[in-house]
């Protein structure tokens, strides 16, 4: 399942982050690593970005980027 399609306020676990070298290393630096738990907390309208909480940090991710993050439900 892609992060883009996850419901708001539900915690999910990252499986992988795809995308070019630029995007993946940027995500890695912000602490989006496989195994980390993240939550979508807000969505901007008109196809705007997602507001995601990861490790106590809030990050805005464009839809394109969010489509490249593969997640699964938390156990």
């Amino acid at each position: 399942m892609k992060l883009l399609n996850v419901d708001d306020n539900i915690q999910v676990e990252i499986i992988s982050c795809k995308g070019g070298r630029g995007i993946s290393s940027k995500l890695r630096q912000l602490g989006f690593m496989p195994g980390d738990r993240i939550t979508v907390i807000q969505r901007a309208p008109f196809n705007g970005p997602l507001l995601v909480e990861a490790n106590g940090r809030t990050v805005a991710l464009g839809r394109g980027v969010a489509g490249k993050i593969e997640v699964k439900a938390c156990v």
Partner: protein, 643 residues
Amino acid sequence: MRVALIGQPNCGKSTLFNQVAGYKADTGNFPGTTVTFTESSVKVIGETIDLVDLPGTYSLTASNLAEKEVIRYLSSNHVDVILNLVDASHLVQGLDLTLELLELGKPLVVGMNMMDEAARMGITIDGPHLQQILGVPVLPLIASKGRGIKQLFTTVLDAGSNGKVVNRIPYKNQQVEGIILELSKNLQDLNLDWNREALAIRLLEDGSELLNDSESEHQELKEEVEIYIRQVTEQQGKTPGWVFSEERHFLAQELTKQVMTRGEERVTWQTRADDILLHPFWGYVILLGILWAFFQAVYLTGSAIEGPLISLFDGLIANLGKYTGVGSFLTDILTGILQGIAGGVAIVLPYLMPFLLGMGFLEDVGYLPRLAFLMDSLMQKMGLHGKAIVPFILGYGCNVPAVMATRTLEDRRDRFLAATLSVMVPCAARIAVIFGLVAFYLGSKIALLIYIFNIIVIALTGRILSWRILKKSPGLILEVPPYRMPTLRTMLNKTWFRAKEFVIEAWPILIAGSIFLELANRYNFAGFLNLLARPFTWVLGLPSAVGVPLIFGVLRKELSMIMLRQALNVTDISQALTPEQMITFTIFVVFYIPCLATLAALRKELNTRDMLIIAALTVVVAMATALVGRGLVILLTPLGILF
């Protein structure tokens, strides 16, 4: 002793730097405010040290230009101590960088900043325990309130004079550890001021790029590095960069578990605010409300001061002839000086100060990244992503830092586009024209319309340019920092820091320009300059006398406004220009050729060719929009909507 201050974006480096070095670095609650190095000699506890404020970086991997500069600096200059600031409220990510810095093998001191914010989030950190595991000093700090700074620098001085080298914490993955050790042995004879294991890690992570900077004769070594990189990639199924950062991240999480306890989070306005401020509907309502209030505040304060001050100076100038002789050379010079002083104190500063103060508040409180979040989809339509809003917002203050901020964009195409569009943003200097002329004579509604018109033009230009350079922007990844209540002191410091630029650099030019204009009128050579600009002024339906102010506006945008009164030889501009002409003039001034300082910044960030292209483009846009503006005024005036 040289101390490098390093930390992740928005962890308070510049705040600490300003606390010890006086206000020299521009700060803001926005990741990536610092894009250049600020080095300063500071005296702490009786010792003088060179303190270097580096741009914030999440890790040492170079993913954008700002980060490349950090690596280059740490690897080229001789740094005695690395002072690593960690945001205590984001310990895991902070430790990612700390662990990477440990790998450099240089004396390291960790300052655990924002302890107050962490406490508010219910976080407690066992500093002594962390210090023991890392093997380097860890000190608590609240940089914004100046707490813990003395203790921190005492430790830094100690670390610098001992020169005690620190050891990295080995990775859990034995295979990878083996490869690092093997490569580092092969690097022994290399003539570089680097710890070998650190270099091995860097080479595996960034490829042989680092070697390019030193000498080209390491061809053999480069090939060797490439072989190791392939070996790691095959063994682990991912590139060394990923493997290492996962290892470090794993270590950081382990460490965090050991030293951090999370209690009950105190629910404050900060935690609830985003529910409303980023709401899909109310978020935009509030956004418009904030911008409207900001605009009104600037207008009301400024116009209340402009009117009386201008009449005061006009009175002085009118009476000057009584003392120094009407039409004498001395009178002309004195008139020029008084006009220049009046321009600064009555037209520029009354709008500039409230603008900078409000801007500083929005920045420090942390609203700007939220603005990027809300505006991202609009920015996408202009061919950019929301992160490019940073140069735009900075552009309202001054176009120079705006152009410099385009450095944080990863893509060259994005940088060109963002730079082109951000020089069209009406900077604080152009506020003098928009408010001093349009708002003052025609009312704040028209001034607001000019701002809106400007945004539409920028959006359209972006749209058209990104058609030409087709390639989709990769998308927004931007940290949204917590809200922080700025202290009055930092806000005043910041406002003064930015206004100082006007007072020291621009004001003398304004005065010189006014004197020049008086002399030009006296000896009748203003006509020649006006003739040069006549093709433009004629098409726009403006009096030929505005040519000189327009030409001088390239030096400093305020000049266009301040010289205007003089050039038209009136105290009340509405006697010489019709409302239609005022609007046409203002629109042209807003868009045409960026000021000299901005041109220099464009040349530095892009190149001479791009600078010329952008300058030419702005003239075309300025002519086109001024004509459109003129047409709109002519069409709308009979309907009675405008005035």
